[in-house]
Every structure is written in C-alpha cells, then in structure tokens.
C-alpha cells in the first residue's frame, strides 16, 4: 500500500509540473491556434536561469529563502522575456501565413534555443542546488511523500488558482477569452490583439519558468535537452485534456502524471516515455477533442 501511495503522490507531483508547462501550450493554442514548439525550451531556459542565479547567490552567501525568491523571480522574468521575444520574432510575422509556416518556424526556434544554451553554457548535466529543504513535520510520512512533493503541490495549486482568477476576473483575462473566441470581433470591440497575444506568451512563459525551477530542484539536475521531452509531454497532457481548455490542461496533466508513475512503477521504467506517447496516440485516435475539449466542426 505504501508503494501505491508513493506512486500516487509521485504521479501527482509529476502531473502538476506538467500542468504548469501545459497551461502555456493550451493558452497559446487557444488564442492563436499554434503549437508553440519552443515552449519546452522556454521552460528549459527558466530552469537554467534559476540554476545560474541560485548558484551565484549561494556562492555569495545569501540565505536560502532569499535565493529561492530571487531565483524564482529571475527565472520568471527572463523566461517571459524569451517568450515575448520568440513570439515577436518568429510567430508575429507569420500570423497570416499558411498553417504549416508558424509550426515549422516554432520547430526552428526550438532547435535554435536548445543549441544556444548548449553553446553558451554546457552539454553536461549540471547539479541543481537543493532549494527546498526537508521539513521536520514531514518526517512521519517522508518515506512516501517528500517535502519537495508537498511544496510543488502547494505552489502549483496556488499558481492555478491565481491564473484562474486572472482569466476570470481581470480585464486582460477577459480580453484573452474574447480573443480566443473570435479575433476579428475582439479587434472590433477595441481589444489590442497583439498586446493580448504578447501577454499570453508572457504569462505562459512565467508559468513554465516556475515549473522549471520546481522540477529542477526536485530532480536535482538539468541540461539543455530537458525542454524537449518535457515540452512533448506537457503538450500530450494539453491534448489529453482538450487543447485550448485550461481546466482540461490541468486534468490531462494529472492523468498523464499518474499514468506514467503507475506504469513505470508496476510495469517497467525503461518505457516511461513510450507510455506517454502511446497514451497520446490513443487519445488522439479515439477522442481527438480530448477529455474536456469541445469537438470542433468546421463550417465552410
């Protein structure tokens, strides 16, 4: 039973990290209908930035709490800056281009960013500093649920709640929903669509950066390639839940995280990624609109 609970919480943690990345995918897809392939790379850059900042600060002898806060902020700021720039350079000029063009541009951006980090930093695995301490009160259950699991679960829940509030109640959130529904109409009622799209990229990137920080300190190492697999998996999660739908992304991520965790725990750990991809293929075949997505009918 302990093993089951351990796997369950492991899956939940995994799932909530996926959710942080998947939200970026789903928001961007909801608004401009583009699979932002470079999103995984934004997450990787977030993890790298927080790694660099945290290590520098710890060398200069800052206290742990300050390190966590500053590293998290730096990661969010720089990731958002990257997300913003990528959108401006690679996607905005292609807004009216045929469907394949922005997708290929996104793949190019992803390869570019990966190799940029590879060349500017290193190709080795880097040891990520432990930013989340072992809490004393977690001692009795530490063998099934680690402290970092707890922190990740709490943080992601907070982030999701605030994101929901942002989209439901603020002006920019309303503008986002309007743009997602109908871009032309949104322009007609006076919404600056370009700015809304930029805001979407910035928010999505900041979420991915927080995910990057959390998972890097959970796993304890990073390299330039982590974005690719994480990006694909988060995308899988977004599709699983129904791309374009925000609660769907969260649900899909949790389902994916749990599936992976149980499959690797009870079947085989060699095929971890295979399970995720097979799940994706199966979902797309049997329910292409995802768990919570609405089936689209194209009108002529």
């Amino acid at each position: 039973m302990d093993y089951f609970i351990e796997l369950f919480f492991g899956g939940l943690t995994r799932g909530s990290i996926y959710a942080l990345i998947a939200l970026g995918y789903t928001m961007v897809y909801g608004i401009i209908g583009l699979i932002n392939f470079a999103h995984g790379e934004i997450y990787m850059i977030g993890a790298f930035t927080s790694f660099i900042v945290a290590t520098v600060l710890s060398i200069y002898g800052f206290p742990l709490l300050a390190i966590v806060v500053i590293a998290g902020l730096a990661a969010a700021v720089w990731s958002s800056a990257y997300g913003f720039t990528v959108e401006k350079l690679a996607y905005r000029p292609l807004r009216k281009a045929p469907r394949l063009a922005p997708l290929i541009s996104a793949i190019g951006m992803s390869i570019f960013l990966q190799n940029y980090v590879l060349l500017a930093q290193t190709s080795d695995f880097l040891p990520f500093p432990e930013l989340i301490p072992e809490f004393a009160f977690m001692e009795p259950v530490a063998h099934v649920v680690g402290s970092s699991d707890l922190v990740i679960l709490i943080t992601t829940t907070l982030v999701m709640v605030s994101l929901t509030c942002l989209i439901k109640f603020t002006k920019i959130g309303k503008a986002m929903r309007a743009t997602a529904q109908d871009k032309t109409m949104a322009v007609l009622v006076g919404i600056n669509v370009d700015r809304v799209i930029s805001a979407t990229f910035i928010i999505g990137s900041a979420l991915a950066a927080i995910g990057g920080l959390l998972i890097a300190s959970h796993i304890g190492q990073i390299n330039f390639y982590i974005g690719f697999i994480a990006g694909i998996k988060a995308f899988t999660a977004a599709v699983l839940g129904g791309i374009g739908s925000i609660p769907g992304a969260v649900l899909g991520s949790l389902v994916l995280g749990l599936t992976e965790s149980f499959a690797t725990g009870y079947v085989s750990s060699d095929y971890e990624d295979v399970f995720a991809f097979s799940l994706l293929v199966l979902i797309l075949i049997f329910k292409p609109s995802g768990l919570l997505g609405k089936a689209e009918t194209k009108k002529v």
């Binding site: 690679a90 390869i111 570019f112 500017a120 500093p129 694909i232 899988t236 095929y271 990624d273 295979v274």
Partner: protein, 409 residues
C-alpha cells in the same frame, strides 16, 4: 538615407538582447568548484550583432516593400531566372544531362573521401524528396519521418543477422516494411488535423527509437548492430574503395529513379489530388476525392523512400544504432524540404546539397551547425516561406501568337 528613428530602434533592440542573453551568455557558474565567471565580451558581441542584424533586416524589409510597390505598377510579375530555365525544355534537358554526367564521373575525379560525403548528401536528397511528397505536396507535417528510415536500416541489419539475407533482397523488403508501417500508423492518425498529426508522428518517431534502444533481445539495444555487409555485385568481392564507389552509384541510380517517380507523380491525377488536399480539404472532398486514401498513399509512399534509404544507410555505414535516428534527424530532413522549397523537386535537391555539404566543408563551424539549422528554419519561414526555389504550379498560359502563326493555322 537611413532614418535616425530606425537607428534608435536598433539601439533599443540591441539593449534588449543584451539583457535577454545576460544570464545565459554572460554568467558561467561552476557549481562544484563554486566559482563564477563573467564573460562580458559575449554581451558586447550580442549587443553589436543584434544591432547590425536589426539594421540589415530593416533595410531588407524596406527594399522588399519598395519592390512590392514597383511590382504593382508593372503589373506583370517577373518570373525568377531559375524558374524560367526550369520551364524551358531546351535549357532544362541539357542542364540535367550535364548534372547527371558530372554525378557519374564524380568518383573518378574526386577522392574516396569526397565520394563518401557525396553519397551521404545524395541519400539526404532521396530522403528529402520522399518527405517532400508528404510535407511539400500533400501538406501533412510528418515529424517522425526518421522512424521509417530506422525501420529500413534495422530491417536490413536484422534480416541479415538472422536470415543472412543480402542487400538486394532486403532493399525492396525494407522499403515495403516502412510503407506498411506508414499505412499502419497513417490509418488511425490521418483523420487528425495538421498540427495533431505533427505531434503524433513526432511521438511515433520517439517510440520507435525508444523501443530500439530498450528492447535488447530484438535490436541489441543502444550498442547497435555491427558488421553489416556492404552490398554485393553478383558475388564479386570488392575492395573498400571500390565498395564506396559502388554504393555511390547505387545512390545516384536511386536519386534518378526517385526524381523520375516523384516528377511523374506530381503531374498525375494523384499528385493533383494531393495538392488540392493541401489547399482545402473540404472543397477537395466535395470534388469526390477520397481524403483518407489519398493521404494514406502519400504517407506510405514517403515512408517507402525512407525505408529504401534506410537499407542503403545500414549497408553504407555497416553499423546501425538507435542514436542515428533521433528527432534531430527528422528536423534536418524537414529543413531540407523547407529550405529548398516545399513541393519543388529542384529546390529539395539544392536544399539537401547545401545543408549536408556545407557543414562538411565548414568543419570549424560544425558546432554551430544545429544553431544555424534552427535559425535557417525561422528566417526562411519569416522572409521567404517558399524556399530557395519555389514550386510553380502547373498552369495553362495564354501565349500570344504572332499574326504569321495565326495566318498559317
């Protein structure tokens, strides 16, 4: 000539990029030694580089706008030089003959090393042409193309290992295996919309690679299969060098065969159906084209060529392992198609030769190769989405007849 406002803008851009790349380009930490190195020179390069690039880009855009304005006045759009040559049979045939003759005498002029590189490049030409059917003509973005390539390579390696089958026997089998797998995968997923299809094929490519890596009993895992024999010629024993030349000729023959088939296909009923599907699926179905069947044929034909090249790849390197079949490989083949010009045969050939030969001859820049690939994909999409040599749709042209001709007829 160049407005001050633009200079100011470029300056802002360079400051923005200096800020953007600050943590990753400038700071380098060593977590074990606990030291920090600041590389300020990188910041200077980034700022200066982005300043220059932003000015160049602006100039380019201004020129393009001016030209677009001129074109409207002239009304008739001048056809690019290359395309005029390609359309005229009296230029095209001698030119292709010259290229073919050059390709045939290549091994006797250049060294074995050069021949080997050329073989690789030509293999990518075939891969590019195969993917071109799927992506360029039929408009199905396949990001797991390398999976079919792997299937071809492994079918030669395994059939040879277990059943001692020769190259020529496996060549069609490998292709058919890949095509079969294409049908198998395509059947369920081709109903999906374009971007979903991209992800599923990407996932499929990764699954194939992971299975090859982990299923030790079947594929010998990450260490791969070695000692695959080179192709034989009626049981003749060949030296190493003549073996390479021999493979080169096989690949040249394959390239010619592929060009012939693809060219015939593009102008066939099926080819027109593909183009129509790419443009508008619904209209296409309304015209009575079986969407699934047409897509499936494109998908499996593309896979067939990947399988063929896979077999040749295994025979050429005499060694296969899963590391040769990563997503990066798919991305390279895709860049070939995109760079060359989607749907254009000559474009894809040029794209393959440029992308594969350039890094070989610019060894010093090999580190930056993938960076350049990524950059090229983005820049091409933004500035010239049609590729180097864009495809020209076959269309009927109204020819002005001279009065003399009219009188004669």
């Amino acid at each position: 000539m160049f407005p001050v406002k633009e200079l100011k803008r470029s300056l802002l851009i360079s400051i923005w990029f200096a800020f953007l790349t600050f943590p990753i380009m400038v700071i380098k930490v060593d977590a074990i030694e606990r030291t920090v190195a600041y590389r300020w020179d990188n910041m200077f390069f980034v700022a200066f580089g982005s300043f220059v690039i932003s000015i160049l880009a602006k100039v380019f855009i201004l020129r393009k706008e001016r030209r677009a304005g001129l074109k409207k006045v002239k009304k008739e759009i001048a056809e690019p030089f290359v395309q005029r040559i390609l359309r005229e049979p009296r230029f095209l045939y001698p030119l292709s003959l010259a290229v073919l003759v050059f390709a045939l005498v290549f091994p006797s002029i250049f060294s074995t090393y050069q021949t080997n590189i050329m073989t690789t490049a030509l293999m990518y030409v075939v891969l590019g042409l195969g993917l071109n059917i799927v992506v360029g003509v039929a408009g199905l973005l396949d990001l797991g193309y390398v999976a079919f390539y792997a299937v071809g390579a492994y079918s030669y390696a395994l059939l040879n290992l277990h059943f001692d089958m020769g190259f020529w026997a496996v060549l069609p089998i490998g292709g058919l295996f890949a095509a079969f797998l294409g049908v198998l995968l395509g059947f369920p997923v081709l109903r999906l919309r374009g971007d979903y299809l991209a992800i599923v094929t990407l996932g499929f490519g990764e699954i194939i690679r992971l299975v090859l890596e982990n299923w030790n009993a079947f594929s010998q895992g990450p260490s791969g299969i070695a000692n695959i024999p080179r192709p034989g010629f009626f049981g003749m024993q060949m030296s190493f060098e003549s073996g390479i030349t021999y493979i080169y000729y096989i690949v040249v023959a394959l390239v010619v065969f592929t060009i012939f088939v693809v060219n015939r296909l593009q102008n066939s009923r099926l080819g027109r159906a593909w183009l129509a599907l790419r443009e508008d699926e619904i209209a296409c179905q309304a015209m009575g084209i079986d969407k699934t069947k047409t897509k499936l044929i494109a998908f499996s034909l593309g896979a067939f060529w990947a399988g063929l090249v896979g077999v040749i790849f295994a025979a050429k390197t005499t060694f296969v392992n899963p590391a040769s079949f990563t997503f990066l490989e798919s991305a390279i083949i895709l860049s070939i198609v995109v760079l060359g010009g989607m749907g254009s045969i000559v474009g894809v050939i040029c794209g393959a030769l440029i992308l594969i030969l350039m890094p070989e001859y610019l060894r010093a820049l090999s580190e930056y190769r993938m960076l350049a690939f990524g950059g090229i994909l983005v820049v091409m999409m933004v500035f010239k989405p049609d590729g180097i040599i864009s495809n020209v749709r076959r269309s009927y042209r109204f020819k002005k007849q001279s009065p003399k001709q009219v009188n004669e007829s």
